[in-house]
Assembly symmetry: C2
Homo-oligomer: 300 residues x 2
DNA sequence: ATCAACTTATGCTTTTTAGGCATAAATAGA
DNA sequence: TCTATTTATGCCTAAAAAGCATAAGTTGAT
């Protein structure tokens, strides 16, 4: 049973006339007759009752024509969707990201993606930098945002966003936007930071700044999650330094004071498998290229 | 896109290895490679990523393999059911019948049909003899039970059941099983019968009997429907003569007295289109042939 | 009754497609 | 570097499909 035969069968079934059907399908009538005969022979089923004058469907033919109709249109549909997927216009992309990215690049990126590729689904997983590499290699995600880059043979990455740090203070803290001048002013405060091993960027950059200011921060609490750190600050357990995009996290009773007049910035990079040929990824990268994540642009 | 190609594609998709797949499907590996290439070319879609060492599905190939799987098994199913229908083991038969047949041949016939052909559906339409011929010719029904035969070029019929008449009396009537001897005893009663034009059998047979007994029945009500006649008798509006199988209609307050000692009988025939090739009909006729509807057998 | 018109089936030939074999090309691993 | 492995390509053969001519059967008109 061949799709060609099935198509021919549908032609005859709708015309109930071999000659007319053969014209419509641009083949000679004997060829058509024989294809139908073959189909009937293969099935062991008479599909048409024909005398020399009239052609009509048998009950089995009736049934087959209904079902074949469905199958053929399903097939068209599948063909079409396969092509969409090939072109990357349909599909899913699984994105790993640090919590902070939710406050910066992710919203405009998803909007743009939806706009240009309405049939691409996204699947977001918040994860720590330390899990991202493994998740990519295990094919658990297709692309990720990451703050800290480790060169890797199988991965490619690109910086997409660069932002200053902010000093995070409890509402009641004496320092504010107006009287803040440098980190030296909090040299005696307790600090809450991510653990050194899971995220060396903050540490190293912060240490560099502090070093210039002539002190070492006294870390009394550690947490991997930005939201947790914010809560601890809110409860007066210390101060912190975080990417300024956390300002948009609607954290309450906490002050964000941009640390200006220092060169240090934190990067957000996008990272993916070098050999990933999924066309959806290409579109994702294209869309993220097209957006302007330049410093501050998204932080208004 | 060809059914064969899809099957080959599924073979490679499940093995992810052209050579192994080709062995499993008993064709040479180059032939298989080429068929996949053709499919890819036709779709304009890369289905496998192959380097010289590994073969894996692209996202589009992944999608297609899921869908093709479904399509192929659907197709198997359809093939099978088409064959069942061809063999008459599946399908529907639409049966026209007079109300009375519900009390005689229909129950055992449907049971037997269900037993031997569990996938044949039946569709019963109660109709008057006068509608049956037209309904058959319009293909509204496939077969019918009928009391009165009119020879017809396009129809074939066969008597399947023969039964005596019964005298139908209201419960209060003086005559009963014991004192009944002949119809002459009700010669002065009012009669309720079907109209002469719609069903001449009762009339003609009844008139023949009455004639022998030396009277003419006085018809005061007419109805086409047995159930109606029984109701009228129940309400003391007259007496009637009907096929004895109405005894099983659970009519209440009505007496059925078999008219013995007369040769007249009413036939129930089965009738169908001579040229009907529907295999379900063949089975239906075979089953009805196999049942013993001999006089009285079903009337215990 | 015969003939013309029409419709599907069959015989034969050509064209197209599929499949096989040998082998190239490429790559991983010893 | 060599071997084993695996997919792709060239070329030929075999099978299948399609075309053309025409047979065979049926209907309806003259």
């Amino acid at each position: 049973m061949d799709f060609r035969q099935l198509t021919y069968f549908m032609g005859v079934a709708s015309e109930l006339h071999f000659s007319k059907a053969s014209e419509k399908m641009f083949i000679a009538q004997p060829a058509l007759s024989r294809q139908i005969q073959q189909l009937e022979k293969e099935l062991g089923v008479l599909l048409f009752e024909r005398d020399k004058r009239n052609v009509k469907l048998t009950p089995a033919g009736e049934y087959l024509s209904n079902e074949a109709q469905k199958i053929l249109s399903q097939l068209d549909h599948i063909k079409h969707r396969t092509q969409l997927i090939h072109n990357g216009e349909e599909g899913e992309i699984r994105i790993g990201h640090p919590g902070s990215a939710i406050y910066s690049v992710i919203p405009p990126l998803l909007s743009a993606l939806k706009l240009f590729f309405p049939n691409i689904k996204t699947n977001l997983s918040e994860m720590l930098d330390s899990s991202v590499i493994e998740a990519l290699k295990k094919h658990e995600i297709d692309v990720a945002f990451i703050r800290e880059l480790h060169p890797d043979k199988y991965l490619t990455s690109k910086v997409v966003f660069r932002e200053p740090f902010a000093l995070i203070l409890p509402e009641s803290h004496a320092i504010n936007e107006n009287n803040f001048e440098s980190l030296a002013q909090v040299k005696n405060d307790n600090f809450i930071l991510p653990p050194r091993n899971s995220s060396s960027v903050y540490h190293d950059l912060l240490l560099r700044i502090c070093e210039r200011e002539g002190f070492l921060p006294n870390v009394v609490h550690e947490s991997n999650y930005g939201a947790t750190i914010l809560k601890l600050v809110e409860h007066n357990l210390g101060v912190s330094v975080m990417p300024i995009s956390y300002k948009f996290s609607s954290a309450i009773k906490v002050k964000f004071i941009e640390i200006k007049n220092v060169p240090e910035r934190t990067n957000l990079s996008i990272i993916w498998r070098k050999d990933d040929t999924n066309p959806v990824l290409k579109h994702f990268l294209k869309v993220s290229d097209s957006l302007d994540f330049s410093d501050g642009h998204l932080l208004k």
